[in-house]
């Protein structure tokens, strides 16, 4: 401090505006996304309606913003787009190539990619648990790496599946979030991404083992559904689902489900730690508590949006924004549950095991709303029967 400086120059850590902190790479990334969207609009705009164009543009902008806010997404997107385009080019417009071209058959056709996803998730789960129990950071870092690659593979699988559906028939083609099989893949992906975000934010990989439990449960379901039920086959859409609403309603819902799942799994870790089990291995209670709150907060926000979008879609497809259909009603119950959770925490300042238990029970309610309703109750949402 021997320099004589003017006052402003000595100002310490002058907070820079968010935009100024963006690098050339950030700008190039966003520009590439927008150009990509522009090209898509140019080439295929004729097949889209205004809403679909808006969704495409909105998606490009959101992914750009997400990449700016959370840098690893940029790499993920580059790999995703690159590999998906490569896969599409290998198809040469012919579905049968999936069985002939080596890379398609064994790497990046949709089913193969999803199988790889399952395998990599399993590896990730093993690594996280080994790393947690052995207190080996190297292993949890490996788990994290597997988790990133599994998620990338899953996304590639969905992208290619989207393309394949159009190869089956242009009238069959649709975004692959239309049945239970596809949304389970989506669930794995979204839950992983949300978790990976918190992993970076809180700089701890110790919760991965617990979050992997729910992801592996979903993977198990995907495998059973594929091998036992053959549910992986691409089916055309029933008329009620042929709507651009699906493209925003379903992902919003799954951000909710994924976040609630993370909260519940962290809740389990919290409860174990509070009982003295693995207390030394897990992050401090405040961190787990905070992750739980953050997850429920984001989940609640998106679940609210999803429910409202669902109501608007229902108004258009069924003639009423709210019909007290079992699925709708259970969505309301889930929503009320987490609203109560947030009130207790934010207003009553409640903390500790009770809220953790509540988050765990909340997941049971959510799971029932997600799958139970389809299995046990009948109603308008009858597309997802097991």
């Amino acid at each position: 401090m021997e320099l004589t400086q003017t006052q402003t120059q000595t100002l310490p850590q002058q907070p820079q505006s968010w935009l100024r902190r963006l690098s050339w790479f950030d700008w190039a990334y966003a520009a590439a996304l927008l150009i990509g969207a522009g090209v898509a609009l140019q080439l295929y705009g004729g097949y889209m309606d205004g809403y679909e164009k808006a969704i495409l543009t909105g998606a490009a902008l959101s992914v750009a913003g997400l990449g700016w806010h959370w840098k690893p997404v940029r790499v993920l997107m580059i790999v995703l787009v690159g590999v998906s385009l490569w896969s599409i080019s290998l198809y040469q417009g012919e579905l049968a190539r999936a069985d002939k071209a080596f890379f398609l058959k064994y790497m990046i056709s949709s089913q193969t990619a999803i199988m790889w996803m399952c395998f990599l998730y399993a590896m990730s789960g093993v690594s996280y648990w080994a790393g947690l129990l052995a207190r080996a950071d190297g292993l949890t870092r490996t788990g994290s790496g597997f988790l990133w690659s599994a998620t990338t593979m899953g996304l590639i699988g969905l992208m290619v599946r989207w393309y394949e559906s159009y190869l089956i028939g242009t009238d069959v083609g649709h975004i692959p979030i239309s049945n239970l099989y596809e949304v389970f893949v989506l669930f794995c992906i979204i839950t992983s991404l949300l978790y990976l975000y918190y992993e970076g934010r809180y700089a701890t990989r110790k919760l991965g083992a617990f979050v992997m439990l729910i992801i592996l449960a979903a993977v198990w379901f995907i495998l059973w559904y594929t091998f036992d039920r053959g549910a992986h086959e691409i089916q055309p859409l029933v008329p009620a689902l042929q709507s651009w609403w699906m493209k925003i309603h379903v992902p919003a819902n799954f951000i909710g489900y994924g976040a609630f799942s993370i909260a519940a799994m962290v809740g389990v870790a919290y409860l174990l730690a509070s009982k003295g089990v693995m207390t030394r291995l897990l992050p401090p209670a405040e961190v787990m508590d905070d992750v739980m709150y953050k997850a429920i907060a984001i989940g609640f926000a998106f679940f609210t949006i999803a429910t409202i979008l669902g109501a608007m879609w229902a108004a258009e497809a069924w003639g009423g924004y709210w019909s007290w259909d079992p699925k709708e009603t259970w969505a309301l119950i889930v929503w009320l549950n987490y609203a109560a959770w947030l009130h207790m925490r934010l207003i009553k300042g409640l903390r500790g095991p009770l809220l953790a238990w509540w988050a765990v029970v909340g997941l049971l309610v959510t799971t029932f709303a997600f799958i139970g309703v389809n299995m046990f109750l009948s109603g308008l949402h009858s597309y997802g029967t097991l």
Binding site: P15, L95, G169, E233, D290, A301, T304, I308, L332
Partner: protein
Amino acid sequence: MAQHTRSRAAYDLLSSMRFAISLLTVLAIASVVGTVLKQAEPYPNYISQFGQFWFPVFEALGLYDVYHAAWFLAILSFLVLSTSLCIYRNGPGMLREMRNFRELATERSLQHIQQRAEFELAVPAAAALSRATQYLTASGFRFRSVPRGEDGADTLIAAKAGSYHRTGYLLTHCGIVVICFGGLLDGNIPLKALQLSGQKVIETRDIPQSQVPPQSRLSPANLSFRGNVNIPEGTSASVVFQNVADGYLVQDLPFTVALKKFHIDHYSTGQPRDFASDIVVTDNETGERFERTIRVNYPFIHKGIAIYQASFADGGTRMQLKGWPLLSPRVAPFDVAGAVNQSTRITSGDTEIRVELSDFRPFNIEDLASNTGASSRVEVASVSKKVLDQLGSGAADNTKKDLRNVGPSFQYRLRDTQGQAREFSNYMLPLQLDGAWYLMTGVRGNPNEGFRFLRLPLDIDGRIDGHMQLRATLLDEKSRAEIGRRFARNAVSGSAVSETMRERLAESAEKVLQLFALRGFESVGQFIEKGIPQAEQEKAADVYVKVLEGAALEALQLARERVKLPPAPFEPQTLRFVRDSLTSVSDSFAYGAPIYLQLVQYEEIKASGLQLTRSPGKNIVYTGSLLLVLGIFAMLYIRERRIWLLVKPAQGKMLLAMATNRHTLENEHEFERHKAALAAAARD
């Protein structure tokens, strides 16, 4: 006074969060009931489910339509009231708080704040102040600076950021009130009131719409409704039906909807791709006409009433049928004409049967591969083979399936004089099964069962007539002697056989035919079981079947002779036909109807199920939803932070305190950041 405190207590309770949370819990539980118990079913279903005792109890509780029950609406209304009071109570304070800089904070109160720090001033106070305020502004804080201390020598900077957090509370809670209000507007409260006061009465009779009396009709001016109507092609409707409890109300519309045509498009796999109706809406007042096509997800809205494609049904397809007696010794097909949803009477012998045509389907896509039993599930594949099979595209593997359109089918019930009915489902076109062609007719005793199919084999010319003639001849008592004679002659032709042997052969053929005409193979079997020692039964059965088949072959030739056809050639195909005919006749005894109805010709008429709604509350609900979402994001993602800096040049000290309304980990990180920065501002 006591009055006053009591109402005050009620106000406190109603506007408290505790009460609101309790209401939400009750609401959630009540909603569960409504999802577990199927809502708005016909009342007889509930009676059979719960019995005579519980049915009225549950009815009184409104469990058959929970979401419209008075108590449910009361809970919702309380929720609105309670949330409104809560806003009224907390809102003004929140707004004040939002604007307030809290510059009145004293040094002592700052000492009580948990996050605080104290720095030595190494630069002139003015410099430190200027650096600090610059930093705070750059960090998104707004501040107010006030003099403090005896002579105003000290300076307090009161800064805040994220005060819009507080709007979150207002927005969410107002959002909820607005949504509930819109929802109640679209609910049936006015209708409930009219019903309770006796001005409107639910119609429970099944009568033509035009005869429904005025007290069961709702005027076109009705603010909100949601009703359904089925319109057959070529007809129109100017009312919809609102189902209420165990009856309905007729809602008159301000326009007429005519259905020109209903379309279903299909994917190549047979699943429906699109349902659409070409409708013409004619306004009753202005006479304006709107020709539109509505599809699922694409309604048409006129005068605030939205017209949705909701369902479809048969609209009275007209059919030409041919009736074949199945167990009669004479071939006498008769014509029947009818339409779906109509019934006709036919007389078969001395009994009268009512035919109720119930449905028609222009095509049926069936997976014929799964019927042949080729795809048995027991395959021993290694895990790696199974995985390898799954690799590749997600496209369906159609090699395992044999999807085919097997043509039109129709359904009907046959009701006897006692009112007992059986349901039948017949395909119009023949089906090839195991290499031969059959007409298929399915039967079931009650709607929960699947259909069991009877196969009627086609003759060499691909018609049903040959089988029917054979059937009649087989069952004809008068033909038996002749069949027996021919059987005996042909069975042993060429060799020198005694006349008595011949006679015995003819007799046994007659005997088997007679048994067979009783109840098919069943009665032949029973005869063998009773009359023949166990050890020889199997051999005897063989002989009987041979004799029966031989006799049936003779019956076939006899039948052909009678209708002046040349004899059937003696080849495997003919034998197969005879065997199939025998099976078919034998199965007919369990078929449960004396006649088979063959579809000859049809003229399809479809009906479109439309749902019409007027919901003035919709846009209110959407507005409320927007408020809710904005509020939630404001509440969860805007953090309110307040910073106080007390600069005391006399002591050479600067005091920092930071407060937030939420306790999260970020706060600590943020405080550390500000602390470091402001410490630097005070340093040289």
